[in-house]
Symmetry: C2
Subunit: 458 residues, 2 copies
């Protein structure tokens, strides 16, 4: 008889608001109750709890986590919090955590430990027992290799379905907790096909794997980007993906739950990176650490503003004669900035999904330019009417309308060309497009507006 999976007996209380408040109260008043409260909580919920707690409470919680769940809790933490927690743990506990985890999580944590150690002697390799696991450390972040786990269920093409099922039931040491897919390999581990557990249980017991397996398995190599891997999962609705070397030999697998985490982390990362914020940073990191990490982006963006200021300074005489120009400047800058944001959003997304290619990029420019000019005309008309009514100056109304139309054209061009060029030179367009396009519309918009005003009004 195999044992019941430990999954059945995992505590399952969730971190509801009530549970959270109960724990907060215990933290302040009766820390001795904490152990019992945490023992009922699902490990993923303990991780959530730790993330929400200001730093001084975390040590108390940590000391009261049931030992058998410590590994799962640490693995579930967000990176910034994970670093903080690993620094507080006793080295023996750290060793236990690594031993309890699957290969990919163990390697990740060993790497984090090496990165945060003050001591030069701490080496991730020494923290891992297994030769294979040590190899996982060689893969770059954001590659298929970094997402891969070594635990796979593998079988020979001549194995019959009933043999494979018997092997599953044997609870063999090398079987992963959730095999998901049986990878069919030859004696040299070359991947020949795949057979999902779903199809395995439906297949005739006497059939050989080679007759029922999927013969053209999807694969990635460990150096492919995690973006590529995500696309394969999304497109083909698979749950397990084989990682093979250049000779087609099976190295490991990537599972869809890790992909889900990756996608959510990536979305947060891109959004944060576009604002110069580190998405993995602990919410309760010291303010000075946060401030330091945010400064570079603020300084870079200052460049845009200085460029805009330089353009304005060319027209100081005009502004002195007609201060209304200064009043209207933010309207020009804002409408151009918003229009370029719209175009760039579409282009960045199209590049991310792969819908934009060399072949259709020009057709897309024509479409975006047309749409940008249309919104430009409407906004220009609104502004002209407003300016005429408020300032009673029809020529000024004409100038602002012309500048707006021109700036929306600049916006469409900048929003289209910038992400394409960044992508061409292998920069992530999601991060730096905004700074560049805003420079286009600020500088261009002020120049056209103040220039036209100087020519036509003064």
């Amino acid at each position: 008889m195999v044992e019941q999976s430990h999954y059945v007996n995992i505590p399952h209380r969730n971190l509801t608001d009530d549970a959270y408040i109960e724990i907060l109260v215990a933290l302040d008043a009766t820390p001795e109750k904490l152990g019992a409260l945490l023992a009922d909580l699902h490990p993923a919920d303990i991780a959530d709890l730790i993330e929400r707690l200001p730093r001084d409470h975390r040590r108390t919680v940590l000391a009261n986590i049931p030992a058998e769940h410590l590994g799962d809790v640490v693995a579930e933490l967000e990176e910034g919090v994970q670093e903080h927690v690993l620094q507080m743990l006793h080295p023996d506990d750290v060793k236990q955590v690594i031993n309890d985890l699957e290969s990919d999580d163990a390697a990740d944590i060993a790497q984090v430990l090496e990165d945060i150690a003050d001591d030069e002697d701490v080496d991730a390799e020494d923290l891992l027992d297994d030769h294979q696991q040590k190899k996982l450390l060689e893969f770059e972040p954001d590659t298929a290799g970094s997402l891969m786990q070594l635990e796979v269920a593998a079988a020979l093409p001549t194995d019959r379905v009933e043999q494979v099922l018997a092997y599953m039931r044997s609870d063999a040491e090398d079987l992963p907790e959730n095999p998901g897919t049986v990878f069919v390999v030859d004696k040299r581990r070359k991947l020949l096909g795949t057979m999902s557990i779903n199809r395995l249980v439906k297949a005739p017991l006497k059939a050989k794997l080679e007759d029922v397996m999927r013969k053209t398995p999807l694969t990635v190599t460990p150096d492919q980007s995690s973006d590529d891997v995500v696309k394969v999962f999304e497109k083909y609705d698979i749950h397990n993906l084989a990682v093979v070397n250049k000779r087609g030999q099976l190295l490991g697998r990537i599972t869809i739950d890790d992909i889900l985490d990756t996608v959510m982390d990536d979305a947060a990362w891109r959004q944060s990176a576009a604002a110069g914020v580190d998405s993995s940073e602990d919410l309760f990191a010291p303010a000075v650490v946060t401030a330091r990490s945010r400064l570079p982006w603020l300084v870079v963006n200052l460049g845009t503003a200085i460029a805009a200021a330089a353009v304005i300074s060319l027209f100081e005489d005009s502004i002195a004669k007609l201060t209304t120009l200064a009043v209207l400047m933010p309207i020009i800058a804002s409408s151009g900035g918003n229009a370029t944001t719209q175009t760039q959003t579409v282009i960045i997304r199209g590049l991310a999904t792969g819908s934009i290619t060399r072949q259709n990029a020009w057709a897309l420019f024509k479409k975006e330019f047309a749409a940008g000019n249309m919104t430009g005309f409407v906004i220009a008309l609104l502004m002209a009417v407003g300016v005429w009514l408020v300032f009673g100056n029809p020529m000024l109304a004409l100038v602002i309308a012309m500048a707006t139309v021109a700036n929306h054209a600049i916006a469409a061009f900048g929003g289209w060309v910038t992400p394409l060029v960044l992508k061409r030179y292998n920069y992530d367009p999601a991060i730096s497009t905004g700074v560049i396009t805003t420079t286009f519309t600020d500088v261009g918009g002020f120049f056209v507006f103040l220039g036209l005003a100087t020519l036509m009004l003064l």
Copy 2:
């Protein structure tokens, strides 16, 4: 003998650049070759191809898709393109598409058909054969119900593992293609436990399900939000989630591949919505349709700029006396805007992940306010030095420094309070926070800067 799953025989050529160009050439020169090229392509790749093609080529491709894959292709399309394609299909083909799909996809497409029909008589219900499927139409978008499929593998608690495995192999009509999990229910369909296929194949053959199943299954009700559902999948690393009614009876299940699609669509949607762009819009929709959908956001944002202009107009006399103020205005607005973007990004993300609660929001404000003031001081110092060097006016340098410090404080407050208030009143903070916080920093920044300048310099 059961038949081999049709999955084994799905064409598998991927849409590489070569394949894409080959098809583009065929479209222009030899459309008769198209059928053969498409027959080799995986349905998900045909969907990709259609999305990339300008509209006039799509009809030709559509006419050449092998009939047995038309359903899969249509289901894989992005919503905007899907609408366009459904309008081009013959009603008989549409019927075939719906019949070929699983319940959730079939209901989605029936709904799209109802939405796009000019004809009032087209009713999604009439397009679906099955009584149960019709019920899927009742669920609101972005709820668990809308993500649910009806096809589930269910068994009784007294069934033995070997019986369940035999049932799987029987290829019974009601079995889903990928069962994933066996839901254990009583005779009234009340959910008692779950047993993943992974654990089923490892369990002793003679064991009763009630002895080996997970007894505290995670569940959602159909009216829960899709955000809630995503959190359950991410947190607990499950592949299948039971949907139950208020009495705990099993209605259907949600699968992780649909969740992966949802997460990716949501990330795109939030990012696009924050720029007033419709993420489901076809890249090659007519420019006028695009322009019309983007205008409202541009007009709303004009409000921010007009508010800023109104503040500036209060200080026109000061600007006339010292036009350098107009030159420096964009620098004030930009640094404040960037600082508030950083704080709001952190708060929006914390709210999305659930890390920010009533209990820790204030601690977070203190931290963000401190970090904002620190960056404010550094940026202010840089600006003051720059202004002193360029304009040789130490008092002006002092004024811009003071205004910058004040505006970073405003930025931290606005970036913290705005998403919290929006969330409190059930607006999605990811969408409208930016407009509001920029108003804070533009209006506040100009007022402080021009006000201080008027007091101290003039």
